[in-house]
Subunit: 338 residues, 2 copies
DNA sequence: AGTTTCGGGCAAAACGGTTGACCGTCCCCG
DNA sequence: CGGGGACGGTCAACCGTTTTGCCCGAAACT
């Protein structure tokens, strides 16, 4: 399938300028290796390149030199739609600032593609977003020495996967502590059924803070479907004064909770307090929900910096893992109880 | 430089399986060229590849075969932040559906765009978003036969740039017609100073519809800074009954208009009607503004389909240009005047 | 026995660059 | 007169695959 019609190569320039292809490469590459060249030759080459409209082939360049200022971003869910937008905005901004391009690998949805994860190697290194990335595929890359960084903590593979994440443990604990200070004693905790590391972190932080603050926390795993007015009423009858809801990708649990509260005719925070371990889904009406902010942009930026340090070693190596703290959102949905 | 530590190559597999590297390539490539191979050899190679954890190098693959299911997306402004999100969501969705990966080239602002536009050739073809892409760089790619598609109409280069766009002419005309039917006769038209094709289209549609409907439309170019209460009052005194505002990337013109209206104590649509040629910036409070919807996702999808048809010729060639129509948004800011 | 015919597989040329080693010439110095 | 630089570039190997053309041995015809 050969070359794109008419694209001039270094060899073409060489012919025109009357030098060897190697010389062309040296001139066009800015002569980083310190080859001795006369200014006349340099200009002849440059001029010929200009005349021919030469455009270097990035693929060949990369094959030959193994680095190309390209960072991969693998997302297991659609990147532009979902909640990842702030993270990606951070990634993009930092990458642009560092002069790196981004190559996006979007899981096709159908297959959690091994193949696609492998193609990741087109880049100099790759960021992995979202929990649903098969660990074995990552392990493959890792042992091959390919630089990868996960956004979101990754416990698998013996913690060998470098990552940046949000400190959900501390942030969740802080929310619970706030509830404790407001006098709450019985809390219901609603989380998604799946066992993502971020879910585990939130629950761990919650439990620790609950133990410290003398709260009773009962955990319910739900996808939202089984959440209705009866459940809400039952909990209130049990003496529950606050609901703590995990932030999930789709917001399903939160939405279901809101609906159930509405159906039960329960007011927030009048009848029950409500907190989200994170932020409510966008466009949620009504008073600001108490919780914390996930520093998406900052995560994205930090991830890029970490990856770049892996790709271009030399500059001081930062720690392979980093947890960013989440600023609390006070909100108006935590009431003080007697 | 050199290979990533320990990454096995086809040559390594060949040694283990006791065959030549070429044979490995044939086997791993699924033998599309119909080379005769014994099943035993095939299995030996496959097994060796498995054992060694072989991962094909996408770069080498692409260098050798000139096509790699990679679509480029060049954005002249940050992609994840700005208003391009719906378009990109459409691009991503369609690309994923077609099994293509996306490689994003974000104009860094710093580096000369030319270089980045050239790097575009890492992909099999490239989408260009946003007005601020230098035409000469595009021309370079175009004449080289590199497949490109612009999102947003492009008049430069003699219309040779394939594109998909929104039919701003028709949509804008429709808004003006609505105003005419509501009895408006004098309209002030606020547009951005720069001459983007999309701006021109809106203005053209507006003028045409105004002529048809017997409206007087006066155009003001502004970046928003010089818009204040005095201007508003002057216009109203002149008998203007409706303001038509262009949708801009930043929303600056719209915001300024809102502010000026507020400062002048003018109510919408009580004292004056207001329409946007597009949608107001996100998060605008108050009643729904009349205007039209730009079909972002659809644009993205159509652009990808067009690009793919350019990259993989064979399937019927669609028209090189396509304009998608914009569904009107009735809104509540156009009042009937006597 | 002498050709075809086939199954099997290998060698080698691309693809377009990058890079370290090496080669002539001149000139200068001891 | 022999040797050491400096100057200006060129050579050729290499990056990892794809893809053709060709070769070889054995079975099948004539």
């Amino acid at each position: 399938m050969g070359r794109v019609r008419g694209m001039p190569r270094q060899a073409d320039i060489a012919r025109v300028a009357g030098v060897s292809q190697a010389t062309v490469s040296v001139v066009l590459g800015g002569n980083r290796t310190g080859v001795r060249l006369s200014e006349r030759t340099r200009l002849r080459v440059l001029e010929a390149a200009e005349r021919l409209g030469y455009v270097p082939d990035p693929v060949a360049k990369r094959l030959a030199s193994s680095r190309d200022n390209l960072l991969g971003v693998y997302t297991s869910t659609p990147a532009f739609a979902g909640s990842g937008a702030p993270i990606l905005a951070g990634v993009e901004a930092e990458a642009a600032a560092l002069g790196k391009d981004l190559i996006m690998f979007t899981a096709s949805g159908a297959a959690p593609d091994h193949a696609r994860i492998r193609r990741t190697r087109l880049a100099d290194g790759c960021l992995f977003l979202g929990g649903h990335v098969p660990a074995d595929a990552l392990g493959e890359l890792l042992t091959a020495g390919f630089p990868i960084v996960s956004i979101g903590r990754r416990a698998e593979l013996g913690g060998r996967v470098p990552h940046v994440g949000a400190d959900y443990v501390a942030a969740s604990a802080e929310v619970i502590t706030r509830l404790a200070r407001a006098g709450h004693r019985r809390v219901r905790y609603l989380r998604e059924p799946a066992d993502a590391p971020s879910s585990g972190d939130r629950e761990r932080g919650t439990r620790a803070a609950a133990a410290d603050g003398g709260l009773s926390v009962v955990v319910t795993r739900t996808d939202g479907a089984d959440l209705g007015a009866p459940a809400i009423r039952r909990w209130l009858d049990d003496g529950v004064t606050a609901l703590v809801v995990e932030e999930t990708e789709t917001g399903a649990v939160f939405h279901a909770t809101r609906r159930a509260l509405r159906e039960a005719g329960v007011s927030v925070p009048g009848d029950v307090s409500l907190a989200v371990l994170g932020r409510p889904p966008g466009g949620t009406p009504g008073p600001e929900i108490s919780g914390f902010e996930v520093p998406g942009r900052a995560l994205g930026r930090a991830a890029v910096r970490l990856l770049v340090s892996l790709v271009d070693p030399g500059a001081g190596e930062p720690a392979p893992h980093r947890l960013l703290s989440c600023p609390p959102v006070m909100g108006e949905t935590i009431a003080t109880v007697s």
